[in-house]
């Protein structure tokens, strides 16, 4: 028996997943652009992480989230490693629950990691290391009394020279345009940053 292309539920499942990931990729790249306009530069070219190749961990065979981290851009005045960094920003899409999170409807989580002292870009990159999981901060931590919708926790035990991670979440499907991304995520994030 010949099946019509696109009919199979499994095919539909993966087509939807592909579509979701592609849109999320564009959302994160648009975050690059919007934060680039505010002189923040993405660190690296990766999106998702924490996969497993192991036969024992099928729950990690696919992306549960994808994230971008940002440091201040180098400028005409200050070359890459001369510029001091007080915090690092992140924007992430949390598609589904992970071993340490509980997600029903997917969310965008945005926030920043405050360092305990000012670092050079290179030091900040090293301090951050492989702590890409910090992008889940919007799902952890305690609500901040003085900032509605924000959560805060202290990752210093795991991330060198970090003092606190603060983040908020918004439903992923509420980001229906680039303008919505700017208004609901980027502007909210940038306006909450402490003085440099």
């Amino acid at each position: 028996m010949t099946k019509t292309i696109g009919e199979s539920p499994t095919r539909k499942l993966f087509d939807c997943l592909r579509n979701l990931y592609r849109q999320a990729q564009q959302l994160l790249l648009d975050s690059d652009r919007l934060l680039g306009d505010r002189e923040w530069e993405p660190v690296g070219v990766t999106g998702p992480a924490e996969f497993s190749y192991s036969i024992t961990a099928p729950d990690k065979w696919f992306a549960r989230w994808a994230a971008r981290f940002y440091l201040p851009q180098s400028t005409i005045e200050a070359e890459a490693d001369e510029r001091s960094v007080a915090y690092m920003l992140f924007i992430s899409t949390q598609f589904t629950s992970d071993h340490d999170t509980d997600v029903d409807e997917p969310v965008v989580s945005a926030g920043y990691v405050l360092f305990s002292k000012k670092l050079t870009r290179d030091q900040a990159r090293k301090a951050w290391g492989n702590s890409y999981w910090l992008c889940k901060s919007g799902l952890w931590g305690e609500p901040m009394a003085d900032a509605a919708g924000w959560r805060e926790w202290n990752p210093s035990k795991w991330v060198q020279l970090s003092q606190s991670a603060r983040a908020f979440t918004v439903p992923l499907y509420s980001i229906t345009s680039s303008d919505a991304l700017k208004e609901l995520v980027i502007d909210k994030l940038v306006s909450a940053l402490p003085p440099d």
């Binding site: 499994t10 849109q23 959302l27 648009d30 934060l35 306009d37 530069e41 180098s74 499907y173 919505a180």
Partner: protein
Amino acid sequence: MTIAELHGKIPSSGANATDTSEDLLTSDVFGCLRYVPPECGLVQFLETARSLSKDSFCTTRPVIRAHWSFWPFLRFQGRTSCKPDVVIGLESNEGIHLVMIEAKYLSDKSSYEDEGEPPNDQLARELDNLDVLEPSDLGWDTSKEVLGRSLLYLTQDASIPSTAIQESLGEYRRKRSLIGVIYWTSWRYLGAILEEQIQGLDEYQIKVLDDIRLLLERKRMVMFGGMTPLSTSFDERVYTFYSASPTRYDWPDPSSALEFMPTYSYVGGAR
């Protein structure tokens, strides 16, 4: 017409003729843009570029003609030679603006700062050569005055790759004691520009621009258009296919597991 092939960029082995080739992408996009008037997409796209200090690229309008050189080999006294992807001459009534384009797709700059006297970083080197470039070096038929020279770094990033640009400007400044400017724009910005420009063009020009747009879409080099929630619902049971596992695991009973039980006897023998 595949401009890349005209310039020997597609070897007989076909090694460069893949969908990841930046030469092919450059050839497809700029080769097609050559076939429409410069004010119908090219200039608007170039004007999306900006520098590290946020200055926008601008040129004298209207541009009445565009001159093109693909992969010109530039060699000038005291400068390291270079081969930028495209040099475009934007000609207006007042003169000509030389725009050198270094296009990237999946790779980074091909060379970096070294100990030598002239700049060696790919963009710094191109900036250095652009300083002395004249239309006649490219064989262009124009005697118009050069109004300006701009280097444009074209990548698939969505935001300005400031570290890469700063490295290049740093080497150029150190070695030439000059403050250079490098503009940057993204392939991703082109699709929307072309969509706007399609209004008012004839049907053949529309086909040319539409092909570029479709290529960029195919390569997923487009900008964010908003999230759309999933419209399909999935039933977990549909994907459950391995449900008949044993409920209990036992070691086999030898007498029932083997049809013929082997028999053993000790026959002795020296070691």
